[in-house]
Structures are given as structure tokens and as C-alpha cells.
């Protein structure tokens, strides 16, 4: 009984000495914690990347088509571009829309991209969540992002196969997996790299990199249907 009492005292003393260290080593989250992680880079603002109507020109060659992908591309005509029907532009093509800029609105839990083109938007969740299982495809898919130093790494799945990757008619399936890296170079420049992975259309993943530059403007109005008069005049570009 006496030994048990002594052992209890020793244990209590050890806990009193050790516990402050245990509770101080938990990383971020504790109030006043000097080791809290640095905030992610601030990318808020209006931005634009070069207009990229033919993604193969940027790549330097055609993407590594599967047989199915090559056959589809040979057949596709600009008249079938979903944008001629005022359908949404899609996540990567929206970045490549050139002189129609986009606005980044960044919060701790979401990284939002507001496209002037068609007034569409992307919501990239940065709160640590995973993709939902078996999500139905949508125009901009499901995007989750995490910061790696100065770079936001964005993973997107669940994409509607009706969007195109460019004006030239590069298509994709609903198995498209996008991996994007938004690397802040300085206050006015982002290096954007996007990797396209789609086993139905491409034999292997392939990537392009474009410079994104800050713009001194505001996002302006856009409504594709407001005064659409072109559809009646469109003609096939292939015989």
C-alpha cells in the first residue's frame, strides 16, 4: 500500500513536469503558438493568361491521342464548339481565355475563380476535404486544392465531357483528371501549369505551362445570349 502511494506520487510528479512540453508540441492551432504555419500567398486580384485557341501550339505537337482521341479530333469542327451554343467554357479553358480576364477571390477555405467569360466561376475547396465518391459530372468538376509553399496545387475530377479544351476542338471524356499548379512568382505573376490525364483520349498525361499576369481592370458584364446573332451564319470549316 505504501509502495503504491509512492509510485503514485512519482507518476504525478513526472506528469506535472512533462505535460507542458506535451501540450506545447502540437503544432498550429494553439492560441499564441509561435510555430503556426505562415499564411498562404495572396493571389487575390484580376488576372489573365494568353489566349490559347490551339493547345497543341503551346504543347509543340498534338497531345498523345489514343486511337479514339485521334479519330474524334480528326472529325471535330469548330462549328461544334460548345461556346457557339453559349455553353460553359470549362475550368482550364477559362484560364486560357486571353483578354477576358478572371478574378481570384481567396479565403482560408475556398479559392474562387470568377471568369468574365460567360460569368462562370470555379470553387476550389482548400479546407482539406476529399473528392466526393461517384460525383455526377459537372461543367467545372469538383476541385480540391492544397498549398505547397508558394504554389496552390489543384486536383479536379468529375468533369462534363461536353466542354472542349480549346477552340481547335481538343476534347476530353468525363474521365478527365486535371492537375493544376498556381505558383506565385511575384506580386504580378503566376506560373500556371496544367496536366491533362484522360485514358479515353490520351495515352499518357501531358502538360502545358502559361504565364498568368495581373491586370489593371475590373471584371465586366457578359451574357452570351443577350444578342447572339452568329449561329445562323456559321459554316463548317471542314469539307
Amino acid at each position: 500500500m505504501k509502495n503504491d502511494f509512492r509510485a503514485s506520487l512519482v507518476c504525478t510528479a513526472i506528469m506535472l513536469v512533462v505535460s507542458p512540453f506535451l501540450f506545447s508540441c502540437g503544432g498550429r492551432g494553439a492560441s499564441g503558438n509561435p510555430q503556426a504555419a505562415a499564411p498562404p500567398p495572396d493571389l487575390n486580384g484580376i488576372w489573365s493568361a494568353p489566349f490559347t485557341p490551339d493547345i497543341s501550339k503551346t504543347l509543340g505537337h498534338q497531345p498523345p491521342f489514343t486511337e479514339y482521341g485521334a479519330a474524334r479530333f480528326a472529325k471535330e469542327d469548330e462549328i461544334d464548339d460548345p461556346l457557339t451554343k453559349c455553353l460553359p467554357i470549362g475550368p482550364a479553358r477559362g484560364i486560357q481565355a486571353g483578354i477576358m480576364p478572371f478574378q481570384i477571390v481567396e479565403t482560408p477555405s475556398v479559392f474562387t475563380i470568377l471568369f468574365e467569360n460567360q460569368h462562370t466561376f470555379r470553387i476550389i475547396h482548400t479546407d482539406g476535404r476529399s473528392h466526393p465518391k461517384d460525383a455526377d459530372p459537372t461543367w467545372f468538376g469538383d476541385s480540391i486544392g492544397k498549398w505547397e509553399g508558394d504554389t496552390l496545387v489543384v486536383d479536379t475530377v468529375g468533369l462534363d465531357d461536353r466542354t472542349w479544351l480549346d477552340t481547335a476542338g481538343h476534347e476530353h471524356s468525363d474521365q478527365l483528371h486535371l492537375l493544376e499548379r498556381f505558383q506565385k512568382m511575384d506580386n504580378d505573376n503566376i506560373k500556371w501549369t496544367v496536366t491533362f490525364e484522360d485514358p479515353k483520349y490520351f495515352t499518357e498525361p501531358w502538360s502545358i505551362t502559361l504565364p498568368i499576369k495581373r491586370q489593371n481592370t475590373e471584371i465586366m458584364s457578359y451574357s452570351c445570349e443577350e444578342n447572339e446573332k452568329d449561329r445562323a451564319h456559321l459554316r463548317r470549316t471542314k469539307k
Partner: protein, 144 residues
Amino acid sequence: MKTLSSAVLGFGFFLLSMCTPVFAHHGFAVEFDQNNPLTLSGVVTKMEFENPHIYFYVDVKGKDGKVTNWAFEGGPPNVIYRRGWRKDTLKPGDVVTVKGFRAKDGSHLGACSTVTLADGRQMDAGSGGVSQNSYGAGAADGKK
């Protein structure tokens, strides 16, 4: 010095705007023929400063005296607003000279590259600037 820098930047933006192809909701080649350039003069009858492209209409008198109302398409209004256009840049009654390309369907429709106003100002209509094939060059970046 600041004024000079602003002037240089402004001129740089002007030069850039003169050669930047326009992104719109359709490719150039699917509607217009870059091998069929046109230059027409006439009187503006209507201006539509609306999405997804501006449209304006010009009465053009032919050699036989017959007047034809041509429609011209320019860039999206937000894009050319940034290049200095406003909704009243062209008003009914204005005398203009339009350079551009005719529609492939043979209708009295053209893609407008530039408009020269009566006072001599030349406006880039969002389709590529003074070089008539600039709109086409932008489209040529895409698939043919």
C-alpha cells in the same frame, strides 16, 4: 517623369491591343472568310453595344445607286470598352469606312477589323487592328 511613363505604358497597351486576337464565343473561320476582305463606306443606321459581340449597321450605296444595309460584327463590348469604345462611339448618321471580312454565307454581314470615323479617328473593333487579316490571323491560330 510619371506622365512620360504613363504615356509609354499607354502607347504600349495601344500597340498590344492592335495585334491581340479576340476571343469570342465562336472562331473566326467558322463564320468569316479571311480570303474575302472588304472595305465599305456609308452611314451608320444602328449600333448594338451588346454581348456576345457588338453589331452595327451601315447603309452602303452601290455604284448603281442602290443602298444596302450591311451588318458588321466586332469584338465583345467589354473587350473593346477596354480599348476605348463606348456605346455611343458610333451613332446613327455617322459617316464611316469599315474594313473587315465578309461572311462565308454570302449575306451582307462582315467581321469588322477597323472603323474610320469622319474625323479621321481609326478604331480597332476588337478584331485585330489595322491589318485586315489580323482577325483571320487570330483564327488561324485555331484549327483550320
